[in-house]
């Protein structure tokens, strides 16, 4: 099996993507609601990712 080296951002991005897809599918009842919720989750994941990234950068000095 080939080895994969992902950066922190790439790994977090993929984690956010797949988790959002599953959360969208299992949480809501109509397809439209699923797409909206999945996109929302993905957006919040990215927001948290960038937010925490900046907090760590600022905190680290």
């Amino acid at each position: 099996m080939p080895k994969m080296n992902l950066s922190h951002f790439e790994a977090s991005f993929l984690f956010a993507l797949f988790t959002s897809i599953v959360l969208g599918i299992v949480t809501k009842k109509t397809d439209r609601e699923r797409i909206v919720y999945g996109a929302q989750c993905f957006g919040y994941f990215l927001l948290a990712l960038f937010g925490l990234g900046w907090i760590m950068k600022i905190g680290h000095g």
Binding site: M1, K3, H8, A11, F18, I25
Partner: protein
């Protein structure tokens, strides 16, 4: 204000949902496919399989149950259950020798988390398949 207690719904008969949940565990998304929800089943399968394969490719470790102090027990037994929830993906990885020891490094660490997360996403898919099979959800 008085809160009215909802009467507890009776558990649906076992034979109505057990095979769906079992197939959903063994083959990620399989429960949905069995119930005719092809699109959702395919997307769930894609997500769980992709997470698991990425975890393996990042050389993540598969947990073996270990006991000791509380934290060790929670991490190793919980991690093992999380891995096991991936069904055939976990079984094949162990049988074909893809199980690897835990090594230091952020990529391996992400890999280990991806492997456990794939199992946990499959648990969500199994619960959803149960609700559909039990008639609680469309």
């Amino acid at each position: 204000m008085s809160k009215e207690k909802k009467p507890k719904e009776p558990m649906p008969p076992l034979k109505q949902w057990l095979h769906v949940v079992a197939v959903g565990w063994l083959i990620p998304g399989g429960g949905h496919l069995l119930l005719g929800r092809r699109g959702r089943g395919a997307l769930l399968a894609l997500s769980v399989v992709a997470m698991f394969v990425l975890g393996l490719m990042m050389r993540g470790a598969l947990f073996q149950p270990q006991t000791g102090d509380l934290l060790t027990t929670i991490i190793y037994c919980g991690g093992f259950l999380g891995n096991l929830a991936s069904g055939i993906l976990y079984l094949l990885s162990v049988w074909l020798g893809y199980s690897q020891p835990d090594v230091a490094g952020h990529v391996h660490d992400y890999g280990t988390k991806f492997l456990v997360a794939a199992g946990l996403l499959n648990v969500l898919a199994m619960v959803d398949a149960f609700e559909i099979a039990a008639g609680k959800k469309e």
